[in-house]
């Protein structure tokens, strides 16, 4: 009946959205964390407000893995519509806690799992008097049932409830009552859980805390000195701006005067949003917007303009499956090649690729610096998995460096350089100097336009002048290679390399452990930004085969590598793609890598 999983199992809660199960799932997650066991929650939810299927996976993992897993050990089944498929998702030897009225027959009758029937509806009717609260408190009953089955102490649940309902002690008390209803029922009626257990751990979660990527990015913007933001609501990016608003309201309002050290505008669309932050960047404020793929489409014209007019702007793209409606609540790394060259003409933008919530925080600050240093739009590519899920992370580091405002000439500088040219490459790095509107000096002003400007920003249709400008912009892009976050390397001298970026990282971590257990040692390079650092080509040179792993169908990073690498380097690359809308798991890497090794061995091409 399967091995006993101690601190290494996944609970799947299957319910309908709008039923308030999120609080219950967070309480469970938090309770497991309080026992010292690393835990990774994943919310797979529909594009809907109420009534469609939603799943919440809570992965307890002693090794601290953060990615999704396909192995479901314990199912809480509270959605009759998905009952059959949910039963099928449970591993052999696993268990199901389900509403007792659900039929266990035919397809849903398996002899390799344990069923725990609980009359949730009945219990709620009997014990929750407040009809309006019943829906929500029913979910707390399953928390009680699971707490009893997993032997989570009530004090731990109580502490987790306290954290969840921090400002509402009354709600915490009502929820605890519901938890007790569940645990009492389980104690009296349910046999103990045999194959799954939690044992308190020490040292694995010390100092860690939960944060979602969108909030982490917002915190980066706060600490990075962003003062202007404009945005248009879009899943899964809305909570990035909403987190920024919440942080600003709490920490950037003068308590005496009520004055705000920020301005945030909900724009009429994404093109207006990016127009506002480009206007703000032009006038010298640090500004950002956040959106997802469809919004990026609308921003294209202004982003291209800002690239040629050389105006700082920071754009977070919390990627999702696109376009239009259908799967906006599913994740994807779908915008890499799109954002890299967004705009018409020869546009290339720095694109930061954070893989963790910590890096989202760091990249928020780094992007604001880089945008001003490079005088161009900078993208930060997050995704729904990273942005909207809660992640356990080490504390964020307090920034020690001042803002890098880049090459700005003030009035006193202009007196020494009255003949400055807005688009002149003085330093050989392709980055010109700029002045801000409002600079009180007769030589400060210049005329900003997209194309057709010479070194002094004067209108010019001269072909040589324009080509010279394009060549300088190419030089500037080369400078960006050295200024963007550099790749992260883990190498032990294997002939096999894995190359990935963004949230795919977490599946790579587990996959490499599994491959090692299967006898295959791998090296790992994680790309942290575009343009690609020189180290990427060097890594490919050092490996016989490099698996490029990403979450899109067409292999977008693979495509960029094929553009930039030499033919003999390209020949070493193998593209591995995961693109079904749910976050990638380790087996999506392990299985094809092992298959590929077998094929290469068969062909006589593999050394390892």
């Amino acid at each position: 009946m399967g091995n006993k999983a101690v601190n290494d199992f996944t609970i799947r809660v299957a319910t309908v959205n709008g039923s308030g199960s999120q609080s219950s799932n967070l309480v469970l997650t938090n309770a497991i964390f309080r026992l010292g066991v690393p835990v990774a929650p994943k919310n797979v939810f529909p594009s809907n407000i109420e009534g469609l299927p939603t799943w919440y996976d809570i992965r307890a993992t002693a090794r601290g893995y953060r990615c999704r897993t396909r192995t479901i050990d314990l199912l809480v089944a509270l959605n009759t519509a998905t009952w059959t498929q949910d039963v099928a998702s449970v591993r052999s030897g696993g268990a199901i806690v389900h509403e007792s009225t659900y039929p266990v027959a035919g397809l849903t009758q398996r002899d390799d799992i344990t069923y725990y029937a609980v009359p949730f509806t009945e219990l709620a009717k009997t014990h929750v008097k407040d009809g309006a609260m019943r829906k929500y408190l029913t979910n707390m009953i399953y928390v009680g049932v699971l707490a009893e089955l997993l032997r989570i102490p009530e004090s731990t649940i109580e502490a987790a409830l306290g954290a969840q309902f921090k400002s509402k002690p009354k709600a915490a008390a009502a929820n605890l009552e519901a938890v007790r209803v569940g645990s009492a029922y389980a104690r009296e009626h349910l046999p103990p859980l045999e194959n799954i257990a939690i044992e308190p751990m020490a040292g694995a979660t010390d100092g860690l805390f939960f944060i979602d990527g969108n909030r982490a990015a917002a915190l980066g913007c706060l600490m990075g000195g962003c003062t202007v933001s404009a945005w248009y609501p879009i899943t899964p990016a809305s909570s990035l701006c909403e987190s920024f608003i919440a942080l600003c309201e709490k920490y950037r309002v003068d308590p005496e005067t009520g004055e705000r050290k920020y301005a945030i505008v909900q724009a009429e669309d994404e093109l207006a949003a990016v127009g506002m932050i480009i206007g703000a960047g032009w006038a010298g404020a640090r500004a950002m917007t956040a959106t997802s793929g469809p919004g990026i489409s609308l921003m294209a014209e202004y982003v291209g303009y800002a690239s040629f007019a050389e105006i700082p702007a920071v754009i977070f793209d919390v990627q999702r499956v696109g376009p239009s409606t259908g799967l906006p609540t599913r994740t994807m790394q779908g915008d890499l090649s799109f954002t890299y060259s967004l705009g018409h003409g020869d546009t290339k933008h720095p694109v930061l690729l954070p893989g963790t919530v910590d890096e989202l925080y760091e990249d928020g600050m780094a992007a604001l610096d880089l945008a001003e240093r490079m005088q161009c739009p900078v993208f930060v590519l997050s995704d729904l998995d990273l942005g909207m899920n809660s992640w356990l992370t080490k504390p964020f580091a307090y920034p020690e460096k001042p803002f890098d405002r880049g090459k700005i000439l003030r009035a006193e500088d202009l007196s020494a350089h009255p003949d400055w040219g807005r688009y002149r490459d003085v330093d050989g790095d392709g980055i010109p100097y700029r002045t801000l509107p409002g600079t009180d000096h007769p030589a400060a002003g210049y005329f900003t336009r997209g194309t057709g400007h010479d070194e002094e920003a004067k209108y010019s249709e001269n072909p040589e002048v324009w080509q010279r400008n394009l060549d300088r912009l190419a030089r500037k892009h080369e400078t960006a290679r050295t200024l963007v976050p550099q790749p992260l390397l883990e190498e032990t001298g294997s002939a096999i390399g894995i190359l990935a970026y963004g949230s795919t990282h977490h599946a790579v971590v587990e996959a490499r452990d599994l491959l090692r257990e299967a006898g295959l040692e791998t090296d790992y390079l994680r790309v942290r930004a575009l343009p690609l650092a020189a180290e990427v080509a060097a890594f490919v040179d050092r490996h016989e085969t490099v698996y490029v792993v990403e979450q899109n169908r067409d292999g977008q990073l693979f495509g960029i590598l094929r553009n930039e690498l030499l033919p003999e380097q390209i020949a070493r690359l193998r593209s591995l793609r995961h693109y079904n809308g749910v976050p990638i798991d380790a087996s999506a890497i392990v299985d094809p890598v092992l298959e590929s090794r077998r094929e290469l061995a068969h062909a006589g091409g593999a050394r390892s």
Binding site: Y251, G279, F396, P437, G445
Partner: protein
Amino acid sequence: MTAAAQSLNIIGLAREVYKGSPTTLCAGCGHNSITNHLIKALYEYGVPPHRLAKMSGIGCSSKTPAYFVDRAHGFNGLHGRMPSAATGAKLANRELMVLGISGDGDTASIGLGQYCHMIRRNVDMTYIVENNGVYGLTKGQFSATADVGSTLKHGGSNAYTTIDVCGLAIELGATFVARSFSGDGKQLVPLLEAAFAHRGTAILDVISPCVTFNDHEGSTKSYAYVKEHDVLVNAPDFIPAGKEIVVDYEPGTVQDVELDDGSHLLLRKLERDYDATDRLGALRTIHESRTRGELVTGLLFVSGDEPDLCERERMPARPLRNFAEGDLRLDRATFAKIAGGA
């Protein structure tokens, strides 16, 4: 010193400072007249060039910021999307005097959304529509401000209802709406100065004939048509802040509008008893005049009571772009509380 050199404005600058590069528009273009009136108004009002931010979209009109105040920063952005950039610039540095130059295509077609939302937000800026009812740079297509029945130079009549950018602005809650004519500097210059003085979005719809594509018989935006159908609702006289009002008018013949910087716009009433602070009355007048084929000009509506975007957002007087690490970063203890360190 020559007499000309001694002629300086209230901040000690010569009129020369307010000039720009030579125009590249057609000879006789209404836009060139507007540029000249703007130079006069900016000079007379005493706008510090370094504080001026010249914003524009795309089109003949949007090229004109290159033709005045060379010293100021200019932003020639995207077609119809200047209001968003102007909004951002104002948020970054509210000390800037933002002047947006647009056209009828730029405002009423591709940019209608941003135009409406700029007005809703009451962004503190002057927004000029150089309105000729036709696309010039792309050689003579109708714009959305063309009147029903007006004709193109090479044939074709406009079948679609016109978008009246003044009526629309007033409906949307605009706080300053004027209409004028590129050929009437006497009316336009004081209106421009009043627009500079107004806190909030000041809309100036300036009919500006296109001599190349829309100045023929059958056009309702030609010099001849405008001269014939122009009905002035009031005659403006701008009195700068601190200057005594000495004009002697008969009681009841002048509406005195006090502007946000302490200046006054005296509106001499003409044929009818027009109240520029009556929003519904303004809408009615605009609508009825259009129905009669008339073009009402003058200060159509003004309201000084609405907060502008920066006030509504409770922004400090100090420009946001000047805030530094010490103002914006959390201290270590507060940071630790929310970033996992406590």
